[in-house]
Symmetry: C2
Subunit: 79 residues, 2 copies
C-alpha cells in the first residue's frame, strides 16, 4: 500500500476538496490519511518539509499536489 | 459510474498531475477521460463552460479541481 495524506484547515475550499479526495482516491492502492491542522498542529512542520505550501493539499508518495487554494501555510500558522 | 475528466496541455506540471490522477483515481467508480487540449482543441469551450480556469484540472461530476498550476486557459488558447 502507498501512502496518501490530505492536509487541510477546515476552510470551505478544503472541505469540498476533502470530499473529492475521500471519494475518488483508490483505497485499494492507498492508505488515505486526512490531517486537519487545527486539530493536529504538530503535523504542520512535517507537511512543510514535504513541500506543502497551501491547503488543501494531497501528498501521494512524497509528491505534493495543491488542489485549488484555500489558505497559505502562513495563514494556517497564524490562525 | 461517475465521470471524471482530466484536462491538460502537455506542460511538465500537467504530466506530473496526470500521472497522479491516472494512478490514484478509483477506476471502479469513475470513467476517467484524459483530454489534451493541443490534440483536442474542440474541447476547450466545454472545459471553460465547466469552470476550468487553468490546467491541469480535474472535473469530477461537474465539480472542478485545479491541481497545482501549469498554464491558464488564456495561455492554452494562445498556444
Amino acid at each position: 500500500m502507498k501512502n496518501a495524506v490530505f492536509y487541510h484547515a477546515g476552510c470551505p475550499v478544503c472541505v469540498s476538496a476533502e470530499d473529492m479526495v475521500v471519494k475518488a482516491v483508490d483505497k485499494s492502492q492507498y492508505n488515505l490519511e486526512v490531517v486537519h491542522f487545527a486539530q493536529s498542529p504538530d503535523r504542520i512542520a512535517g507537511a512543510e518539509s514535504a513541500g506543502v505550501k497551501s491547503v488543501p493539499a494531497l501528498v501521494l508518495d512524497n509528491e505534493v499536489f495543491h488542489i485549488n487554494f484555500g489558505a497559505s501555510m502562513a495563514d494556517v500558522k497564524g490562525s
